[in-house]
Structures are given as structure tokens and as C-alpha cells.
């Protein structure tokens, strides 16, 4: 057990990230257990888990630019955990939508995904993230080989793009927040484009 925890949280920086990224899930669960999610608790749970997924995606994609800009190589060790938290909140988001909005009817979920562009984009983002989570272990990195692994994990860029667009299309009129997310992602992806062009 202790060994497992040590592997999960190897150092202090990882502990910091783990605790802070877990807090929203704990508070959401705590509020849900006390019936404190407001007038439309299902909608609140779906919206909040979606936001948390986007925030974790932004944090994940911010790690490499920050590591290079601040010259803090230690940050790289947090990237996997941040990405896994994004996938974790993405799973909660998908579960909440499937359960509360579609009443766990697989047929309704598939039909919704094919008929509605914003659901399609959300589902696409999830399906792109799932194999990345599955291949996040050291053993999978070794098995795939560094280059192949890196190429596979570039799927996080289209996943983040799809997630941001998913949010933008969903909003009725006030697009400020979705645009803020899209802007942040554009900066983070732009940093990579500029760096690869310079090389």
C-alpha cells in the first residue's frame, strides 16, 4: 500500500498537484452528498465537471511552455498527473451526461453523438484522451518507444481543441468564457508551433 502511494505520489511537487487537483472533486462530492448542488443539481454537476476537465487540460498543456520559459525541468514530472486528472474529470463529465441527461441509454448517447455536433466534439475529445491515459505508464512508454509514444501523445492537441470547441458551441449567447479557454489553448499551442518553426 505504502509502496503504491509512493509510486503514485513520488515527491512533494506531485503531492501539491495531487491534493489541489483532487479538491474540486472532493468538494463536488461533498456538496452532492448534502444535496447542496442548487436548483438543477444534474446540470450543475455536468457543467462543473466539464469546466474542470478544460482547466486540467489547460494546466497539462501549460507545463511544457512553463518548464521551458521558467527553466524548471522538474515540472515535467507533473505532466502525466495533470493529464490523468484531465482524463479523470472527463470521465466524470461523460458519466454525469450519460446518467443525468441520457439516463444511461446507450442508444440515446450514440444517437446524440452523431446528431449533435457539440456532443460529437465532446465525445471525440474523450475518445482521443482515453488511449493517452491508457498509455501513460512508464511501461507503456518503454513498450511503444519514446518517439512513437510522443507521436501518439500529440493527440492531446486535437483533444483540447475539440473540448474547447465543444464548450463554445454549447453556449447560447455569452461566449466570453469559452473564448477565454480557446485563447489560452491558442497561446499554449502557439508556443509549440513557434518553437518547432525555430528549430
Amino acid at each position: 500500500m505504502a509502496e503504491k502511494i509512493r509510486r503514485l505520489i513520488p515527491d512533494y511537487q506531485a503531492l501539491l498537484l495531487f491534493v489541489n487537483a483532487s479538491i474540486p472533486a472532493l468538494l463536488l462530492g461533498w456538496d452532492a452528498a448534502r444535496g447542496q448542488l442548487g436548483t438543477n443539481p444534474q446540470e450543475f454537476a455536468i457543467r462543473t465537471t466539464g469546466m474542470l476537465t478544460l482547466i486540467c487540460l489547460v494546466v497539462t498543456l501549460a507545463i511544457t511552455p512553463l518548464r521551458l520559459t521558467l527553466q524548471m525541468p522538474v515540472l515535467i514530472r507533473l505532466r502525466r498527473m495533470a493529464g490523468l486528472f484531465a482524463f479523470f474529470y472527463g470521465c466524470l463529465h461523460l458519466l454525469a451526461y450519460s446518467w443525468f441527461d441520457k439516463e444511461l441509454s446507450l442508444g440515446a448517447i450514440v444517437a446524440d453523438s452523431l446528431q449533435r455536433p457539440f456532443i460529437f466534439l465532446g465525445m471525440l475529445a474523450f475518445l482521443l484522451m482515453a488511449p493517452l491515459a491508457a498509455t501513460s505508464t512508464n511501461r507503456m512508454v518503454q513498450r511503444l518507444g519514446g518517439q512513437k509514444w510522443r507521436r501518439l501523445h500529440r493527440a492531446v492537441y486535437p483533444a483540447a481543441g475539440a473540448a474547447a470547441l465543444h464548450y463554445y458551441i454549447l453556449v447560447k449567447a455569452d461566449t466570453r468564457l469559452p473564448l477565454a479557454f480557446a485563447g489560452l489553448l491558442a497561446i499554449l499551442l502557439g508556443h509549440r508551433v513557434v518553437r518547432s518553426l525555430r528549430r
Partner: protein
């Protein structure tokens, strides 16, 4: 500084104790940083993820001390308007979960931001193709006689409530101004005053908010100019002091805080259908068979219930209003 030989050897901290103290200090610092970031994250979450209704409840029960309804309820509740086997939505939910973009685009943000909205004095100007144009003071409107009506309320976003409104049937007001023969539509307008409705400074929608009905829809006995809910005056977040209620149409047709009513010949512009014509039609009758381009309208979440309900054609008022649309292609004129 002491000379080295004046320090007794038993006063020198030994190596392991020094290490221990250093370790202890480092752990203390790390613990403090961990606690600090955790507190910050908790605070951020609490500030940013605010469930609808909770702010107002936390702010105290000022809603309970609202004055009683202006004007007595003169008519008993008509049977045809009361949903069967459905109970009215909680007052706190009706007054804490609102779409009212003039104040905020977040449903939980409307009530706190609309708290100090002043609704007296208030007049409603009725003009256009009428023989007797007239400006009504709020008290004159209430003097027309208010009735209680329990209606289903179906938002285009696929949630719904059951609301015990009080108000004046719109037909009563329209008969006083005597519409001309060529009047075909009724246009409504919300107050435009960015001082009092702060989000009108933003450009999320073109202001002022406008809505419209066909004249026969406006004259229908179900159509209400509401001044209150649960026997109390409307709160600002619900469209105080007077708002339209058209129970068989999506909620956005029931325009809030009305200041102008104009009778016109042609179909008037309406805010949402101008903003996104492929998503929101002029009619916007509740119809489970016509999906919004981005989501299904087949089912709805009734606030206060766990599972979803089937949405009913014309929101369950087909017997009363179906005949208005017998010659209308409801797919085309959604």
C-alpha cells in the same frame, strides 16, 4: 563573537540534531505551502462553482418578507390551466434559477445582481394600431383584476417548472385599447436602462429585448401579464414588476419587465429569432418533435425531480391552443 575555545563542547549542536532540525523546518514549510495552496484552491472552487439558489439562501430569507400581492386575487384558479398530478416548483428555485441576460448570463448570477432593481414607478405604454392608445400605471393594471394561474413553464434549454402565477389576462388589457381591424401582431419591449440593468452594457444580445405574438395568440385566455408568483409580487429576477406568460411557448417568449406593447400589422422582430434564426423561431411553440439544432426537445428536466419527463406538445396545452395552429406547418414555423 565567542572564541571557539570558549564554546563548551556540550553546547555545540551535533550533526544529526542539526539535520533533524533542518528536516523539521523544511517539512513545516512544505506543509504550510500545501495547506496554503489547498485553501486557495478550495476558495477558488467555492467562488467560481456556485450552484444556483445558494447565494440567495445564504444571504438570508429576505424573500420571505416580501409584501403580499398587490391587489386581491379576484378569480379562482381556472381548472384548465392547472397541471394534473404535478406540484408547484419551490419558491426558492423559481426565484434563484433565472435566465435574465439584462442582469447576468449565469442563472445563479441574476438574483443577486437584480436585488436592488427599482420597479416603482412603472408604466406600460400600449400604442400602435389601437383606437385608444393608453399608458397604464402599474396600479391601473392591477386594478383590472388579477387571477391566479398555475402553469407549466418550459425553457428552451430543456428544463421546466410549475409556477403559480398571478396576473391579468392580456386580452383584458387589449380589449381596453381596442385593436384596429388591420392589427395582426403584438410587439413587446423590455425596459432599456443600462444604469438599472447593468448587463445591457455588454453586447451579448442586441438591446432592448423584444418579443412578439400573433394577435390571436395574445388574445388567448391562457396568455397572462403576470405581476406575481405564489401570491407575492414578482421579484426582479422573475421580470418585475410585470412580464408576459405564454405557457405553451418556450420560456424566452415570456418577455420580462415590459414597458411597451405595440399592435402592428406585420410580424415584429423578436430578439432570439433575430439573433439565431435557425435555432429560435418566431412561434417557438413547445414541441417535442422539433429538436433545437443543438439538442433534443423530446424530454425535459423538471426542477425538483430526479428523472426526466417527456415534453408535451404545446407544453400540455394542446386542447386549449392547438386550434390556433391547425393550418400551420409546425416544422417549418417552429
Amino acid at each position: 563573537m565567542m572564541k571557539p575555545d570558549s564554546i563548551k563542547s556540550n553546547e555545540i549542536t551535533d550533526e544529526s540534531e542539526y539535520q533533524q532540525r533542518h528536516q523539521w523546518r523544511r517539512n513545516f514549510l512544505r506543509g504550510a505551502i500545501l495547506a496554503g495552496t489547498a485553501a486557495t484552491t478550495t476558495m477558488l472552487y467555492r467562488r467560481l462553482a456556485v450552484p444556483a439558489g445558494s447565494i440567495r439562501q445564504a444571504a438570508g430569507k429576505q424573500t420571505g418578507s416580501q409584501p403580499a400581492a398587490d391587489g386581491a386575487v379576484t378569480q379562482p384558479m381556472p381548472d384548465y390551466a392547472s397541471p394534473e398530478g404535478e406540484s408547484a416548483t419551490d419558491y426558492d428555485d423559481i426565484t434563484g434559477y433565472n435566465n435574465f441576460y439584462e442582469f447576468s448570463t449565469s442563472k445563479e448570477g441574476v438574483a443577486p445582481r437584480a436585488k436592488n432593481f427599482v420597479t416603482r414607478p412603472w408604466t406600460v405604454e400600449v400604442t400602435g394600431l389601437v383606437h385608444k392608445p393608453r399608458t397604464f400605471d402599474l396600479d391601473e393594471l392591477l386594478a383590472l383584476g388579477v387571477e391566479e394561474r398555475v402553469y407549466r413553464f418550459r425553457c428552451v434549454e430543456a428544463w421546466s417548472m410549475v409556477i403559480p402565477w398571478i396576473g391579468v389576462p392580456l386580452s383584458r388589457l387589449l380589449s381596453l385599447v381596442e385593436p384596429m381591424g388591420n392589427a395582426g401582431f403584438v410587439a413587446f419591449q423590455t425596459l432599456f436602462d443600462p444604469q438599472r440593468m447593468p448587463n445591457q452594457r455588454s453586447s451579448v444580445l442586441p438591446w432592448p429585448y423584444v418579443e412578439g405574438l400573433r394577435l390571436d395568440e395574445a388574445l388567448h385566455p391562457l396568455t397572462l401579464l403576470s405581476t406575481g408568483i405564489y401570491g407575492k409580487s414578482l421579484l426582479p429576477q422573475n421580470g418585475a414588476p410585470i412580464r408576459l406568460v405564454v405557457p405553451w411557448k418556450y420560456g424566452f417568449k415570456s418577455i420580462k419587465s415590459v414597458v411597451k406593447i405595440r399592435l402592428v400589422e406585420q410580424q415584429p422582430p423578436t430578439t432570439w429569432s433575430d439573433y439565431a434564426p435557425e435555432e429560435y423561431g418566431f412561434y417557438s411553440n413547445v414541441n417535442p418533435g422539433v429538436a433545437h439544432p443543438r439538442w433534443s426537445q423530446a424530454r425535459e428536466r423538471r426542477i425538483g425531480e430526479w428523472s426526466m419527463r417527456n415534453t408535451l406538445i404545446f407544453n400540455g396545452y394542446a386542447d386549449q391552443v392547438g386550434s390556433l395552429y391547425s393550418n400551420l406547418d409546425l416544422r417549418r414555423y417552429f
